[in-house]
């Protein structure tokens, strides 16, 4: 692989001190792992994972609500990722009810069209995903269809993280597919180096290269290394549809406090699709463990073992923060490593 070696050399040349960048995207992490990309980076260049998947940050209360729907006899449809995320008393794949993995919201609607039973779609996802749900709700799904709306936005979480104080992070690789839909204008307010990157190994290497360059040149702006799919304004049609159906509101994230304007809820005219209202289910706000230091772990200023919940109240079986849910989460990796010893 001449090319790969060439890139490695380019990075070797440009990296002159320790750099740590954070991506905030599960799909970036998967691509990095699959390509063995870290193995070709210069020793001084690190890429770490932030609170990057819409599933890991889904609070227990939302999983519990989904399970409650299933227990009430509803058909619960959702993405495969959510199946194994633990709520307070189990995960969706460990219960008896009728829980189905679907490719997207439209498949859940199709199920509803073919049954008399109630079908509840557990609607997770960031900006990338929320417009698809809006599109489905705008095309008159049947009366027995409803959703539990768990959508969240990236920029408010990043804002929260940055406001927690100093981070040992030199810059951020922005989530390509979120930006496909939402554009990247919203990130320009953050005074840190940022590059939007795609998901081929080359894309990621390019993103890293551009990040190092930006830092070296003392800039702190948003650059786009994924122009074949991303533009500054994103997919305006998609965003507009999203805001026809949803409006933003304050929600909590697993292991984090309530973050203002970081989530979506159905607008009043779409409330008939609100499964929580329909079945009178409440999302129990599992009392916030103020002790979770995920934000510090993510900012690189603390190790998982610095958290007093680690291995005690917070384990892979019963995770508290998102770092313990995600397979790539720092806390989970530490915990599994310790278990094996």
């Amino acid at each position: 692989m001449a090319e790969g070696k060439d890139i490695k050399k380019a990075l070797d040349d440009i990296v002159d001190r320790k750099y740590t960048f954070m991506h905030i995207c599960g799909t970036h992490e998967a691509a990095i792992a699959k390509s063995g990309l870290r193995s070709i980076l210069p020793d001084d260049l690190k890429i770490v994972m932030g609170p990057g998947c819409p599933v890991c940050i889904t609070p227990q209360g939302e999983i519990d609500a989904a399970i409650e729907m299933a227990e009430k006899g509803c058909i619960v449809a959702t993405y495969g990722d959510l199946m194994r995320v633990p709520g307070t008393k189990g995960s969706l794949d460990s219960i008896d009810g009728d829980v189905r993995v679907v490719q997207g919201v439209h498949k859940a609607v199709e199920i509803a069209e073919k049954t008399d039973k109630e079908v509840v779609f557990i609607s997770v996802g960031f900006e990338t995903t929320a417009p698809t749900v809006a599109a489905a709700l705008l095309t008159n799904p049947p009366e027995n269809f409803s959703i539990v709306c768990c959508h969240r936005f990236v920029p408010p979480a990043m804002k929260y993280l940055l406001e927690q104080g100093e981070a040992q992070i030199d810059g951020f690789m922005l989530p390509g597919h979120v930006c496909v839909v939402a554009g990247y204008e919203d990130y320009e307010k953050f005074r840190v180096p940022q590059v939007v990157a795609g998901f081929e190994a080359d894309d990621i290497l390019l993103g890293l290269y551009m990040l190092v360059k930006q830092v070296k040149e003392g800039r702190a702006e948003v650059e786009n290394a994924y122009p074949r799919a991303v533009s500054r304004e994103g997919n305006k049609k998609a965003m507009e549809m999203m805001y026809r159906v949803f409006e933003s509101h304050d929600v909590d994230w697993r292991g984090f406090p309530v973050i203002p304007d970081s989530g979506l809820k159905l607008k009043p005219e779409f409330e008939k699709y609100d499964a929580l209202k329909k079945f009178n289910v409440e999302i129990r706000h599992v009392e916030k463990h103020s002790a979770c230091i995920c934000d510090k772990v993510l900012r690189g200023v603390a190790d998982p073992t610095d958290c007093r919940l680690f291995g005690k109240a917070c384990t892979p079986q019963k995770p508290v923060g998102p770092c313990m849910v995600s397979h790539e989460g720092a806390c989970k990796i530490w915990a599994l490593y310790n278990q094996k010893r």
Binding site: E3, D6, I7, K9, A10, D13, I24, C25, G26, T27, H28, G52, C53, P54, Y79, Q103, G104, V105, H106, K107, G125, F126, T128, T129, P131, T132, A135, A136, L138, T139, V154, P175, H177, V178, V180, V181, G198, D202, D203, L206, Y209, A225, Y226, P227, R228, A229, N235, K237, A238, M241
Partner: protein
């Protein structure tokens, strides 16, 4: 944070649907969120096309790669 895969639009159908090809694999997807024509490329996420992919921009990325590689060769 979201798996999305490029695909070529083969056929536009009623009800905001299109048949796309991911590479020897065809599927019907929803195109509510984009305005596309047969022969164009789209990014598909959870069964919805979420954006068109333009050939020019794709080329532009390749251009950036090239510049990097060129820089190294200096």
């Amino acid at each position: 944070m979201c798996i999305a895969v490029p695909a070529e639009v083969l056929e536009i159908k009623d009800g905001n649907k299109a048949v796309v090809d991911y590479g020897n694999l065809q599927q019907e997807v929803r195109i509510d969120l984009v305005d596309v024509n047969v022969g164009e490329f789209v990014l598909v996420h959870v069964g919805f096309a979420i954006q068109k992919l333009s050939r020019e921009d794709a080329l532009q990325t390749r251009q950036i790669f090239k510049e990097v590689y060129a820089a190294m060769e200096e």
